[in-house]
């Protein structure tokens, strides 16, 4: 609560004196001191509205006892409250009766049956029989209001949680109350579905079975579910979730309220991605190449083959790519395998589309998500958070709307936060340094922005606005921001566990625990445990791919890496894997990259693995295992352990927890961190490991060194979309159907010059490919730039070069 102070007051609840925070809502204060007041509309993460009236209590006033809703009543010192008086009990029974008179009696076929607050409270507080003999309200039974959500208005008790969420939290009010009085109902507008990235939250917070999610409908009964707490590995926010299975399949993921991160909310991608786990395309046996195709192999055959082939190359001619999608333990095992068993320094978890690893790992002062709650000014100079980190988008949105922070958005095109931004700067990709210079100097139109940035605390969220953006720009922005009052910086990283992977040393420049690979002290400390490390300096992903293409490198181990899709230069990635003598892939699916491998090992995935992960704040949390992976798939580290053994080395990874203990012993920044800490008590919120003293100083790029490069032709803004053609999304049917149609957005002025109009098909030519895309005229885009959604099947071949050319197609025929 924004208006909550730290002081404590005394109130009396049902005759017992309690000490509670001043200004807290009575319903919450009562719950925290052990008195549960029933409720339907109140939700701790939304503004109280006092609509359902279930939480009525009696509060003593100078004019006698006042019946009032405890969700709208802030406590004050000396308040005397009765939550179970005769008047209260009768009122609550009356409310329940009112709610039930129009509620259908279809609990046995309702998804909510068994976990339904209305059902529970009817048992606890409700009348025994109905005195209502009139006909109940009727509506058409469940109607789809989006591709993911169905609405049964007969079951709805009009608590408005869903509509308030959409308006207040996610900022896309596509469902609202319609009609009034007894005819009131929740509904979307005709032909405008509830197409929100956050729609699943409304299903979760619905206190009855009015809103149901297609991926879960009729899949299970609540009492059949098995569940573990975990964190979502869809993106680097690491939202806390409850993973729930029935009959050995994950059937539902619900948000869990972790105050510092997701506060209970999830994106629909977090929520429904689980379908990929049970995709028939999932790899279930090892595969080995036989000519142009794969044949299934036994683990023994595949391991023997891989170990034998890898051992034929000098370590320095082998590289490893990937590791940013799994756990820290897996990343640690991957790095240890590469550095001590293969003995190569060529390691990268990023795909040439990220930020500099030293920058990400050593960033200081680093902002936490919670800092947004106190921020006066937020500078967002990164990708569109709504597309890239949707839950962080919710937190920024809340800061800008509810908490009054000044929001500055700098981006080449509209973003999901523009409507709540106080300032928006649109610039042509390549001209970022000019914008930054002007901003730092407070020149002209930037004077007001510069002034706002002097009002701290300032939180800067920095990253590449598009895949082609120079990563040094984010560092230059950070170099400016870190001297602002109360500054904190948060890097926008793409893959879910990039920070964990870098912290585990999956970078040519880093050793586990945020240590520099060049630091003699760090090297010798690690060598005491691991033995000698490779001497030579390693190459990053682009260097590795070039090395493979040019023959300087001959083999590569891909761990959950798909450079053909993810590297900005798909031509290079394809040539590299094509040319390599030997490619091993550990993966869940055959991707464009693992399809080029010689041996493919099926590994276990989210919900099948246990370990730790590190989010973009540096917060370490636990992911937990609920199920075994399909078929013969194995834990990734055990595959490496087997390979190492066959190559005459020892990985020392009999269990994931063994790896965790080794991390705690050898990775300086993770010293002493145990799973126990994360599983219990305060650690359940995650632990942000303190930055060790004597940590490396960052080499920020000075503003004037990051020079603007204005490319010829049209600058390409290649931006991420939430439902892109990544393999997990593609394998989750509920999400795959939501993948946007490809298009190229063109500024009206450029469209005029090119002579193209809305909907016309044009030829977009990059150095990698030429593709035909329909035009969308977009006045929010910087002039001189085109926007292409990255990584859709149709757009992926373009890669992410600085610029493209756009040509009206011959004949101008439209489909």
């Amino acid at each position: 609560m924004a208006d909550r102070t730290d002081s404590v007051v005394s109130i009396t609840i049902d005759g017992v004196e309690q000490r509670v925070p001043a200004g807290e809502l009575l319903i919450k204060a009562a719950e925290e001191t052990g008195t549960y007041i029933p409720r339907f509309c109140w939700h701790p993460r939304m503004k109280p509205v006092g609509m359902c009236r279930m939480c009525l209590v009696e509060v003593e006033t100078p004019r006698g006892k006042l019946l009032t809703t405890s969700c709208t009543m802030p406590v004050n010192d000396g308040m005397v409250v009765d939550t179970r008086s005769d008047v209260v009990v009768k009122a609550q029974e009356g409310i329940l009766e009112f709610l039930l008179i129009n509620h259908p009696l279809d609990c046995p076929v309702c998804d909510r049956g068994g976990e339904c607050p209305l059902q529970d409270q009817t048992m606890a507080y409700g009348p025994g029989e109905s005195r209502f003999v009139e006909e109940k309200r009727h509506f058409e039974k469940p109607i789809p209001i989006s591709d993911l959500v169905l609405l049964d208005r007969e079951r709805c008790i009009l608590c408005a949680r869903c509509t308030r969420f959409s308006d207040e939290i996610s900022g896309d009010p596509l469902i609202e109350f319609k009609e009034r009085g007894g005819a009131t109902q929740v509904l979307n507008f005709p032909d405008e579905p509830f197409a929100s990235y956050f729609s699943g939250n409304t299903v979760q917070i619905c206190p009855v079975g009015a809103l149901t999610a297609k991926p879960y409908r009729f899949r299970a009964r609540p009492w059949d579910l098995e569940a573990v707490e975990s964190v979502s590995l869809v993106d680097a926010v690491h939202s806390k979730v409850s993973v729930q299975s029935s009959q050995n399949e994950v059937v539902r993921i619900n948000g869990v309220d972790n105050g510092p991160t997701n506060q209970g909310w999830l994106s629909d991608k977090d929520r429904f991605i689980f379908e990929y786990l049970h995709s028939p395309e999932r790899l279930t046996t090892p595969l080995v190449r036989a000519g142009d195709e794969f044949v299934e192999a036994t683990w023994g055959e595949a391991l023997d083959l891989a170990a034998e082939r890898l051992a034929t190359f000098p370590g320095s001619e082998v590289a490893g790519l990937g590791g940013a999608h799994g756990t820290n333990e897996e990343a640690f095992a991957f790095g240890k395998f590469l550095r001590t068993c293969v003995v190569t320094p060529h390691i990268d978890a990023q795909m040439g589309d990220g930020l500099d690893p030293d920058f990400v790992v050593g960033l200081s002062p680093r902002a936490r998500i919670e800092d947004l709650e106190r921020a006066k000014t937020i500078l967002l100079w990164a990708g569109d958070l709504k597309e890239e980190l949707p839950v962080l988008y919710l937190r920024v949105r809340r800061a800008a709307t509810e908490l009054g922070a000044t929001l500055i958005v700098v981006h080449p095109r509209r973003t999901g936060l523009d409507d709540v931004a106080d300032h928006k700067v649109t610039y042509r990709p390549g001209q970022g340094p000019d914008v930054l210079r002007a901003l730092v100097a407070g020149e002209g139109t930037y004077a007001e922005l510069r002034e706002d940035l002097a009002d701290g605390p300032v939180v800067a969220i920095v990253g590449r606005t598009g895949r082609g953006e120079d990563p040094r720009l984010a560092e230059a922005v950070a170099a400016f921001v870190r001297d602002l009052p109360g500054a904190g910086i948060m890097p926008v990283v793409r893959r879910s566990n990039v920070l964990g992977a870098l912290d585990m040393g999956l970078s040519p420049s880093l050793l586990p625990g945020r240590a520099a690979a060049t630091s003699p002290a760090a090297r010798s400390a690690l060598e005491e445990v691991w033995g000698p490390l490779p001497e030579q300096a390693g190459w990053d992903a682009t260097g590795i791919l070039e090395g493979l293409r040019d023959g300087r490198l001959r083999a590569v181990v891909l761990y959950g890496a798909d450079p053909v899709r993810d590297h900005p230069d798909p031509t290079l990635a394809h040539a590299a894997l094509d040319t390599a003598d030997f490619v091993v892939a550990l993966d869940l699916f055959l991707t464009d990259s693992s399809r080029l491998a010689d041996v493919v090992f099926p590994v276990e995935a989210f919900s099948e693995i246990e370990g730790t992960v590190t989010n973009l704040e540096g917060r370490v949390q636990k992911v937990n295992r609920l199920l075994a992976g399909p078929g013969q798939s194995r834990q990734m580290w055990s595959v490496l352990d087997e390979l190492a053994r066959r190559m005459g080395a020892e990985l020392g990874a009999p269990t994931a927890e063994t790896l965790a203990k080794e991390i705690a012993a050898v990775a300086p920044a993770y010293r002493g961190l145990s799973w126990d800490v994360l599983d219990w008590g305060e650690g359940r919120e995650g632990v942000v490991m303190p930055t060790a003293e004597g940590e490396q100083q960052l080499q920020y790029v000075p503003v004037d060194a990051a020079t603007s490069s204005v490319s010829e032709g049209l600058a390409l803004h290649s931006g991420r979309v939430l439902y892109d053609d990544g393999v997990r999304t593609r394998m989750a049917p509920s999400l795959a159907q939501l993948m946007p149609d490809p298009f190229v957005a063109v500024h009206p002025a450029d469209a005029a010059e090119l002579g193209v109009a809305e909907g016309e098909s044009v030829r977009v030519v990059s150095e990698h490919a030429a593709v035909e895309l329909p035009v969308r005229i977009d006045e929010t885009l910087a002039e001189g730039a085109v926007y292409v959604p990255a990584n859709l099947a149709a757009t992926a071949p373009l890669g992410s070069p600085q610029s493209v050319t756009v040509h009206a197609t011959d004949g101008g025929e439209e489909e």
Partner: protein, 213 residues
């Protein structure tokens, strides 16, 4: 970013209504406040508050269509189905009820041939019973396109409907109808007015009324 102008958003509206929309959008400290008057304007443009009308108001105010629908459906005077040229509203609240309003409603249904809540196929009439319209001293009271007639006895109600059918007045005016069909008034109305309604939308300058539209 450039905000689209009223002319760009609703190019199909009449010039005076586009001007009114721009004035209304500027009349309030916050744009959203213009939703209600804009719904009346859109209703004049479309004949009723159609889905298209709601979409246009959403575009004009920066709301979602669902938000506009939420507002439009709350208020009874925004007709979301096509409405007749003459909307006859019979007050059946307590004071009018005590003085025979139900008989007036019966008479209107009979004279127009359509039941309460419906519209005639020829688009001439819509009939509805309404809650109190603030004419209790002149009960029973009726409105045609929100123009009031007080002291309307059932036989006069029939005559009035027949007159609407045959005379087809372009402008519906309280004073004219009161002089022809009215009786007891809540109070002395004073001199007759020129203004009147041209559609089932309250005739009020900022939304257009007779002689202005």
């Amino acid at each position: 970013m450039t905000e689209r102008t009223v002319d760009q958003i609703v190019p199909g509206w009449t010039a005076p209504n586009r001007e009114r929309a721009a004035t209304l959008l500027a009349a309030y400290p916050e744009r959203r406040s213009a939703v209600m008057p804009l719904l009346y304007l859109a209703s004049l443009e479309h004949g009723y508050v159609s889905d298209d009308a709601q979409r246009e108001v959403a575009d004009l105010t920066g709301l979602t269509s669902a938000q506009v629908q939420s507002v439009a459906s709350f208020y009874t005077m925004y007709k979301r189905d096509p409405v007749g040229r003459y909307l006859v509203s019979v007050c059946t609240s307590i004071s009018c009820y005590l003085l025979g309003a139900d008989d007036v409603l019966d008479a209107v249904e009979e004279a127009t041939g359509i039941p309460d809540g419906e519209s005639s196929e020829d688009g001439l009439f819509s009939v509805e019973h309404v809650e109190c319209i603030g004419a209790c001293g002149g009960a029973p009271a009726v409105q045609v396109n929100y123009e009031l007639v007080e002291g309307v006895e059932p036989d006069k109600a029939i005559l009035m409907c027949n007159w609407l059918r045959t005379a087809r007045p372009e402008v519906v005016s309280s004073d004219e109808m009161q002089s022809l069909f009215g009786g007891q008034r809540s109070f002395d109305w004073g001199p007759a007015e020129q203004e009147g309604a041209v559609a089932a939308v309250p005739a009020f300058g900022p939304y257009g009324s007779a002689g202005e539209a």
